[in-house]
């Protein structure tokens, strides 16, 4: 799938690729490519390597450490990292809180937090969803009552990815009464996870893994200085964050690496004494997936070009999310199917005995990846967005 990049783009890609080959630690890469769980230190180690190189926050303004790359360069960089098997960037600090602070933060907030986020001094998580408000984010209820120069927080967040690893959490909270416009009265706070009154409870997912949590807030004191933007204007911040342009929505670099893994794995499996990759039915399933990958790769580049040239129709990110996650899920499904009866036995996440054999991870991974069409705005919400914003269909 060599789409014809320009010579400059090709040169940039080769630069990134060469650097990754030399600097991505083999043990981290193997953990990723063998579907083993990453821990806090794995994420931070890779983040610090990137930070040392100056590549950890390409989209930030150069004064805060951004690279000044073009959108296309950022796209190429992200795809190459995924393709190489680098640990994914944990988005909460670098891709979410950082841009929010750059846009809305006070000078003091920027000075204090941005360098720490850049260097990986703090590990961040995101306090958005609540038990009663998932897709309908604006219905959130967590209360922050102002007392002097503090807010006192009571309530609960849920599905909080990596809360158990995090030093800080940014939260949407309700600082005013729910009025006719439910979006009013919401504020955006930065909360130290070591604050008294915060309890983190693991939510084990169906693959047996621990990624997400419930976070309970009981009389948690947060300095008013940690509010970003004005009180009651948190929804503006949240909307900015949701709409903040990202270039790796489709996660094609990762999917292309996974596709090569699938082909190699299927070639090693046997059916009727021959490689499974020779089986016409399986072969067709793989071919259809490859065609989907081709279509999405080009669509992704077309959309980038449209954004760069100002011809965006506003639905690009949603379309990339929908098709990208469908491809990711199909990859896990075909891998599991390729394993045949052996897919039943699962290795636990820490089973080092099976570390070199990915078979024991495939069914878990299939389960885990069901989340991709649910999180970050479910695919149903993405379709609603396209219907309303791009097509102008009525509610």
């Amino acid at each position: 799938m060599d789409l014809d990049y320009s010579p400059d783009e090709l040169a940039f890609r080769d630069l990134v690729r060469t650097w990754l080959r030399a600097n991505l630690p083999a043990d981290l890469r193997d953990k990723v490519t063998h579907y083993r769980s990453l821990v806090r230190d794995d994420y931070l180690r890779w983040q610090r390597i990137l930070a040392a190189k100056g590549w950890v926050a390409p989209a930030w303004p150069t004064e805060w450490g951004g690279t000044g790359w073009s959108i296309m360069q950022r796209h190429i960089f992200e795809e190459e990292c995924g393709y190489a098997g680098a640990p994914p960037i944990v988005p909460f600090g670098l891709l979410m809180c950082g841009p929010v602070l750059i846009k809305f933060g006070s000078a003091a907030q920027k000075q204090h937090f941005l360098p720490r986020i850049y260097r990986g001094d703090d590990f961040w998580c995101q306090g958005y969803s609540e038990p009663g408000s998932g897709s309908d984010l604006a219905s959130l209820r967590m209360a922050a009552v102002r007392k002097g120069d503090h807010y006192v927080l009571n309530g609960q967040k849920i599905w909080t990815t990596f809360a158990h690893m995090a030093d800080w959490i940014f939260c949407l909270v309700r600082t005013g009464a729910e009025s006719d416009r439910r979006q009013d009265g919401i504020s955006f706070l930065l909360v130290d996870m070591k604050s008294p009154g915060i309890t983190v409870r693991p939510l084990v997912l169906m693959d047996g893994g621990h990624e997400v949590n419930e976070v309970f807030f009981d009389e948690v004191k947060v300095p008013v200085a940690n509010r970003v933007h004005e009180e009651g204007k948190g929804w503006t911040v949240a909307k900015y964050l949701l709409g903040h342009e990202r270039t790796n929505t489709a996660r094609l670099g990762t999917s292309m690496r996974e596709f090569e893994t699938l082909k190699a794995y299927a070639a090693r499996q046997r059916k009727d004494g021959r490689p499974l990759s020779d089986d016409p039915r399986f072969c067709d399933q793989v071919a259809r997936l490859e065609i989907e990958l081709l279509a999405l790769s080009i669509t992704n580049l077309r959309f980038l070009e449209a954004i760069i040239s100002g011809r965006s129709n506003g639905a690009e990110a949603s379309i990339l999310k929908i098709k990208g996650t469908e491809i990711q899920q199909t990859l896990t499904e075909l891998m599991m199917q390729a394993a045949g009866p052996s897919m039943q036995a699962i290795a636990s996440a820490d089973d080092t005995a099976a570390a070199d054999d990915i078979t024991g991870a495939l069914a878990r991974r299939y389960c885990n990846y069901r989340k991709t069409t649910i999180y970050a705005g479910s695919n149903e919400i993405q379709r609603n967005i396209i219907a309303k914003q791009m097509l102008g269909l009525p509610s």
């Binding site: 998932g134 693959d207 009727d272 599991m336 052996s342 699962i346 389960c367 379709r383």
Partner: protein
């Protein structure tokens, strides 16, 4: 043409559901799944007391002489409650003995199966064999009036808790030859037998088996030497039919949970079940359930009554294709419509998802059965 349970079957199914409602709630099940053995001896005894282990065994060995259709309502209830006990493994292997064994084997083994004191497992699959039942390279050499057996078996469902294994091995021919395959009874504690147990995603146990110079007496041979494949095929079809029945229950459970969630979960000021896109998807899940009910019936009635072997295979494969696709469809949609909650280990729906995922693959995936359906010309 008769689809509904008769009164006796209905009563039995009701008893099973009452038992499960009482002893097999979500937390009770979780304890069983995480226990050392992976099943509950007391639940197993209750199954035996209800007569469930004898449903497919003839009266002279203590059973009730029914076919797959008689067993189907039980499996349906098991599918609803996500029973992890080694029921299907035991009754499948018992059928090998019942249909192929000598009088002595039947008299020794089957009554103990019925009374719940002997659990069986069928060691058939070999590494790389996928779903091909003729791909057997485990070797049984005649030696000193008995046999010496060497080879590897894998993916033996409930192998580690079996008191006795039925093992396929080749007494003649080359790998994938249809003839030359034989069945042997092997004590898992015999010399040369090594078993390695794993957990499965859906809370069961599965074993790999290594046989190194395992000596068995001539009496360990089930049926006549070299001609076991048709028996294996018919019993695996029987197991497949029961699995289809289990799918009916698991899909019913997934649909009920999803429908309930659609009615109670509110977003944007309304129950999410009022959104038409979700309604239509729920309807398609219901239709899948109806189709699977039909196909489970077809599979059961075919293994019970169809004398034409080619036709039986076609019908069982047709059923499994549909069941595999419906299991995939309903499991994926039910988790998606549950949103984040569907991913959580704390809700039953995610366990039903896992079981349906496995059901889709077990006894042959959709591709395997589509191939068998297509190539088994009438």
């Amino acid at each position: 043409m008769k689809f509904a349970c008769d009164e006796e079957q209905s009563l039995l199914a009701d008893s099973v559901r009452r038992l499960l409602a009482h002893d097999y709630g979500f937390e009770a099940r979780r304890e069983i799944v995480t226990s050392t053995t992976g099943y509950s001896a007391s639940v197993w005894k209750a199954f035996a007391d209800l007569g469930l282990l004898g449903l497919g065994i003839v009266l002279e060995h203590g059973g009730f002489g029914g076919g797959a259709l008689a067993c189907a309502p039980v499996l349906e209830a098991f599918g609803e409650a996500l029973v992890v006990e080694p029921y299907l493994a035991t009754v499948t292997a018992a059928q090998l003995v019942a249909r192929g064994g000598t009088t002595a084997q039947r008299e020794t083994i089957l009554p103990r199966v019925v009374e719940g004191t002997l659990r069986l497992a069928f060691a058939q699959t070999e590494p790389g064999a996928r779903y091909d039942l003729a791909e057997v390279s485990t070797l049984a050499r005649a030696s000193g009036g008995g046999y010496v057996i060497d080879g590897q078996k894998c993916a033996i469902v409930h192998g580690s808790c079996a008191d006795l294994l039925v093992v396929s091995a080749r007494t003649s021919g080359q790998v994938r030859d249809p003839t030359g395959i034989s069945l042997f009874l092997i004590d898992p504690r015999a010399n040369g037998v090594t078993m390695r147990s794993s957990r499965t995603l859906d809370g069961l146990r599965i074993a790999d088996l290594s046989l190194a110079g395992v000596q068995v007496a001539a009496e360990a041979l089930v049926g006549s030497a070299g001609s076991a494949l048709p028996l294996i095929e018919s019993v695996v079809d029987y197991a497949t039919a029961l699995l289809c029945a289990e799918a009916v229950g698991a899909i019913a459970s997934a649909n009920a949970a999803t429908l309930d969630y659609l009615k109670t979960r509110r977003q944007f000021g309304a129950p999410i079940g009022s959104f038409q896109a979700l309604q239509h998807r729920m309807v398609d899940m219901v239709i899948s359930h109806e189709q699977v009910k039909s196909m489970a019936w077809l599979a059961c009635t075919s293994v019970d009554s169809e004398r034409d072997e080619v036709k039986r295979k076609r019908m069982v494969s047709a059923a499994k294709v549909k069941v595999a696709e419906a299991a995939r469809h309903v499991s994926q949609e039910s988790v998606q419509l549950h949103g984040g909650m569907g991913m959580s280990d704390e809700l039953k729906i995610s366990h039903t998802f896992r079981r349906l995922t496995m059901i889709a693959q077990l006894c042959g995936d959709a591709n395997h059965h589509l191939e068998r359906f297509t190539h088994s010309k009438r």
